[in-house]
Amino acid sequence: MTPDLATVCRLFAEYGLLADQGKYDEWLELFTEDCSYKVIPKENADHGLPAGLIYCDSRAMLEDRIETLRAVSKCNIHTDRHLIGIPRISTEENDEVLVEAPFSVYQTEQEGDTRLFATGLYRDRLRLNGAGLKIREKMVVLDTFAVPSLLATPL
């Protein structure tokens, strides 16, 4: 089974909107049980350096991130807005596809001023099965690796 472009776009639309609305339980449902989620600065990715800004190599770690964000972390009070570009479906392997999509995230602070917070490329591995299309690996390659202020909410 290969997902068509519209199915992949629908997944990304859900992904961006749920993150921006802070609906993290539903957002987590977009990931498989064996998922990973990493935000890697482009200068590391370009040189094959493994360290990430956010490095969750299991679903448990991603859930810890979200729980910590909700209950423990303190960040700049803001809202996010994801703009996700049209994905390119590049390879198929069994029931998985590799997908690349450019993205931007704008942040708006409490007094209404908006800034471009992040731009980069999603390099994702998606899996299609009976449960629908889910994210198996999320790799956010961050062009804006001189991170403005701080990075708390998911990209």
Partner: protein, 443 residues
């Protein structure tokens, strides 16, 4: 749009910010309300004239700044760009294995000579008029030096030896590279002192690997950030993750160690066992400090696996003015605080591991990298704390912040954690270097 604050403020209707108050009188040593630095005037974070003084007397002065690691330039010709204050520099490895440094500004018209951040090169040539320099900054060649067909060019007495790049002195401390622009700096051994030296030896006791870089741009003043790791008090209060999961608490065994001049420090803590962990939770509860009742699904994130013969779980080395080397659990990094004007700085962080790490230990270190940097579970809050302090203190020209946890007066080492005495140590040496020491000042 972006609201990055700059020292050159826009004028007219586009101005995002009200102009700062004018300080009509120059800063003098009378700026200090107390001579033990337990009050730090906000003016020192906001007065543009102070920033010029800092660039001249600190960063162009006789201090040593961390600029990089030998492991980043393993082969002859390998180079990397870095900064001393706002001055761009290059360090590179020569054929004999030594590390050479120069200011990355062409001796001709001032352009950046080596534009790439890293690479490998025999020589360095400016793109503007192709002046070519050796790895030590010596001028090797100038196009059309003799003119064309006997016309033009430089005069006969133009001496190439006088037009090299400005030299940067480089010293290696167990592979950690420090640099100074001054010919009058103390030796790095004297500058750091024996105690600081031994902490560098402890962390860099075996060959390291570079795991990657983190960068963060904060809209605040660089000094507020370099004082942050010197302040034991804030760690478990601001960074709730520390207290919640027991990685670092003010109640654990720890303290602050300083050099003889109190300009550098190590804030340190020992790993807690389960009983101490429970006692700490009770201490925090009795202080009405909220501690979330959470359990990590992936406990290794907060687990410290000792990897040398001591039980130090936290050791943060701060070297005046802007260098930090840290071990937080099993995550290790070197940090350079790069001032970018009065109102912004970059935290440039190099994350390291060891060549003899097992695959499991490497995976553990990469997981614990989640703790540090701009998205760090025990560091992201610093960006916010510094920005809100910078914003709220902009118009404060005759008030001061309070630094007296652990008491005022004498600046000395402590074997307990509820203190911020090494913040006063920073300001005491700062005042000496910029020439603003008050009468009867403690050192």
């Amino acid at each position: 749009m972006t609201t990055v604050l700059k020292t050159d403020r826009p004028a007219g209707p586009d101005a995002k910010l009200a102009p700062l108050p004018e300080w009509s009188e120059p800063v003098t040593s009378a700026v200090w309300p107390r001579n033990d630095y337990s009050r730090v005037p906000y003016r020192l974070y906001h007065d543009p004239s102070i920033y010029q003084i800092e660039l001249q007397k600190i960063f162009n002065g006789p201090v040593w700044c961390y600029v990089g690691l030998e492991a980043e330039v393993p082969k002859p010709g390998d180079f990397r760009a870095s900064y001393i204050g706002e001055t761009p520099i290059i360090f590179n490895r020569d054929e004999d294995g030594s590390i050479k440094g120069f200011v990355n500004r062409c001796a001709h018209r001032g352009a950046i000579v080596r534009r790439e951040i890293a690479g490998n090169a025999q020589t360095h040539t400016c793109i503007y008029h192709q002046w070519c320099f050796a790895r030590d900054g010596k001028l090797l060649g100038v196009p059309f030096r003799r003119g064309i067909k006997g016309k033009g060019g430089f005069e006969k007495n133009f001496d190439m030896a006088n037009h090299g790049l400005q030299k940067v002195h480089i010293a290696s401390v167990y592979g950690v590279l420090f640099a100074t622009l001054s010919d009058d700096a103390e030796s790095i051994e004297t500058y750091l002192g024996d105690k600081m030296y031994s902490y560098f030896k402890r962390i860099f006791d075996r060959p390291i690997t570079i795991l990657g870089y983190h960068r963060q741009r904060v809209r605040g003043n660089w000094k507020a950030y370099v004082c942050n790791p010197r302040d034991n008090y804030h760690a478990s209060l601001l960074h709730d993750f520390f207290g919640t999961f027991g990685l670092d608490r003010t109640s654990q065994v720890g303290g602050v160690t300083m050099d003889a001049r109190h300009r550098h420090c190590v804030t340190w803590g020992r790993a807690e066992d389960e009983a101490a962990h429970e006692a700490s939770r009770a201490t925090y509860a009795s202080e009405q400090v909220q501690s979330s009742d959470l359990t990590l699904r992936e406990p290794s994130l907060a687990q410290f696996l000792p990897d040398r013969d001591d039980d130090l779980s936290v050791a943060i080395l701060s070297v005046f003015p802007n260098s930090i080397v840290q071990q937080i659990g099993n995550s290790m990094a070197a940090r350079q605080v790069r001032p970018r004007g009065l109102d912004e700085f970059e935290i440039f962080q190099t994350i390291i591991g060891y060549q003899d790490d097992t695959p499991e230990m490497l995976a553990h270190r990469l997981r614990q990298t989640n703790l540090i940097g701009p998205a760090g579970l025990v560091s992201m809050e610093d960006g916010e704390a510094i920005e809100i302090a910078h914003r709220a203190s902009r118009c404060e020209w005759d008030t001061a912040e309070v630094v007296e946890l652990g008491g005022g007066g004498e600046i000395s080492e402590r074997d307990y954690r509820a203190n911020d005495v090494s913040v006063r140590g920073f300001w005491s040496y700062y005042a000496e270097v910029v020439g603003l020491e008050p009468a009867g000042a403690v050192r």
